[in-house]
Amino acid sequence: MRRFVISIIILSLIIISAFSLPIYFKKTTLELTQKIDEININIKNNNKQEAISKTYEFSKFWHDKKNIITVFVNNDEIDHITYSISRLVPLLKYNNISEFSSNLSYIKILIISIYIDDIPSLSNIF
């Protein structure tokens, strides 16, 4: 009976965390994409200094969230995003705006895919 109760508790914890994790990912993805959009607006407005500052802010925010996300998501995807983010500031400093923008769009897609890939949908399960 004791083992049965422990099993029920463990399973309940797994189920709760399994279904609450996509909520956390959704929130984080939203915050990250908002920061990307802010950078894009500054780029469009030719506000380079503000764009650099927002990119630093975005990079710091990603590094804070990365430690938690790494526990639950395939590490290859995380490394990919981290590598791409590390290229952003140098690209902006050397005025390679087109490469910077494409890199930023690529990062946005990767971040959104983390959330989408974790939603318990039929296509993801099968």
Binding site: I6, I14, A18, V71, N74, D76, I119, P120
Partner: protein, 229 residues
């Protein structure tokens, strides 16, 4: 994580149904659900070990889930005979009143050679000696022999149980120089008794390989051939 959990649940049910469909011959010794868990656990635990890019949680969650499924299922099976029969099946009488149930053998995909091999393992070489043979849920065969083929028992010879002829079971008291206190209690002995025996045998505890005893002071003492210094 929800995907891992759902996938684990789906795989568990699939392998469970698969092994159940494979039948008793494949199971042998382990219960169906236990076999399923064993197969899945061994494979799942390898995955995060081999692939370091996979988070450890991808291994821990299915492992914990499987163990919990197994515990919950065994508890449900214990409480519900319907579930028990659904998951583990029922024992089947492959030989009844000395007659082989050929249809059942076909259903179980158990060949006559397999049946005879299982009978031989129970020291039965003539199928005419078998009154009833049940294929248990763990795949083993339990045999009830015909009266004339059964071993003679004290009951048949009408020998009464007396203190003289009743040999009690022997418990391991010392194993490789270590006292097994639970067994010492089982045969109603204590350490003082053990010290007296060792003293009378001129032996020290660490030099005993094996000592067994019953509650009637009948003991066997085997010292080590290579003594500890």
């Amino acid at each position: 994580m929800a995907i891992v959990f759902i996938r684990t649940l789906i795989l568990y049910l699939l392998v469970l149904i698969g092994v159940r469909l494979m039948g008793k011959r494949q199971v042998s010794e382990l219960q169906t659900s236990e076999l399923v868990t064993t197969i899945l656990l061994s494979n799942i635990s390898i995955m995060p070990i081999q692939e370091t890019s996979i988070p450890l949680f991808y291994g821990i969650v299915p492992l914990l889930s499987l163990i919990c499924f197994e515990v919950i299922l065994s508890f449900v099976c214990l409480k519900s005979s319907k579930t028990r029969h659904l998951i583990s099946g029922r024992p089947k009488a492959v030989i009844n009143n000395g007659v082989i149930n050929q249809k059942l053998l076909l259903d179980l995909r158990l060949s006559v050679d397999d049946l005879m091999a299982q009978l031989r393992q129970q020291q039965i070489f003539d199928i005419r000696d078998v009154e009833l043979a049940m294929l248990e849920i763990n795949g083993t065969l339990s045999v009830y022999q015909k009266f004339n083929s059964r071993n003679i028992t004290t009951q048949m010879l009408n020998i009464k149980d007396t203190k003289e002829n009743n040999n009690e079971p022997q418990f391991i008291i010392i194993s490789d120089g270590t006292i097994i206190e639970d067994n010492l209690n089982l045969c109603n002995k204590n350490k003082n008794w053990l010290d007296l025996i060792l003293k009378s045998e001129n032996q020290s505890l660490k030099n005993i390989l094996l000592m067994t005893s019953d509650s009637k002071d009948n003991y066997v003492l085997i010292p080590k051939e290579i003594k500890n210094s």
